[in-house]
Amino acid sequence: MDTAPVTETKIADHIALLKPRVMSLVVFSGLCGMLAAPGHINPFLGAVALLALAIGAGAAGAINMWYDRDIDAVMKRTRNRPIPAGLVNSSEALGFGVVLSIVAVMLMALAAGWVAAAILAFANLFYSIVYTMWLKRRTPQNIVIGGAAGAFPPMIGWAAVTGGVDAASIVLFLLIFFWTPPHFWALALFSSDDYRLANIPMLPVIKGPRETKRQMLAYTIVLFPLAVAPYYLGVGGVGYLIASAVLGLLFILSALRVMKEPDGQTRAARQMFGYSVFYLFAIFAALVADGTYVTFF
């Protein structure tokens, strides 16, 4: 459903299709995976691998916007996106996303090898098909399983350097995988009316805020040992151990504050959402700042 006839689009509208804010987090976590990995990559090849990662993430975002154009038009948070706003034609957005996905995987394969390229291709397909087309509108566990797609970037960065997958890169994957549910459910707690309106079965809509808050706390607790694990795997130093422990405790505390907040209020949930973004940036920054193998090219 396109909301308005489209004549000729602006470049800025195509950039908006790539979800630049999500892309920045993907590139950052991919770069951290690359820097934390044991080994060395030519700086130019590393930069091209990151560019491929950025293009791949953006392409998946464009395909997501193409498929979700009907519900984006209903939700307040998304109704100004390029397709529902009538700024980009939906089929043009789909073509843009597919072409960029292919370009991203080709570039990744050329610069960083087939393992990194295969993971990137899998992550793109997982986000576009498994999450967007299958899970998102069917189950309240949508972002739990679908969150895997967003957890691949550090693994891709790691594979670009080492050429493979190992325990440490799986832990980095799990770190984002278990971070995703409390992050998105915090958002869903203060946007549940929007999701209800669009018929998206987010956990607060289906199970209510109480159960959502309980599960958010459970995920922040599970996240704690995963976040400190890189120290025990020899990837991060003592500085990383301290930083990840403090950040993890604060994440658990913010989930407890959300638990204590009466169900009608959303202040603590908003604060937890903001903290969750900071948490992920900070934990990966700490891994790079005190990484055992980090060499800045």
Binding site: T7, I11, N42, L110
Partner: protein, 40 residues
């Protein structure tokens, strides 16, 4: 014929597309050269 805003936008888009293609070719060329240089 006076240029309309539509023409301007289309022209800008075409230039950007050409720039992207040139950048892609340059990157592929550069990656190939570097890979050959670092190959054992």
């Amino acid at each position: 014929m006076p240029q309309s805003e539509l023409h301007d936008r289309r022209k800008t888009k075409n230039w950007v597309l050409m720039g992207a293609l040139v950048a892609f070719i340059t990157i592929v060329f550069a990656v190939t050269i570097i890979k050959m240089a670092v190959a054992p």
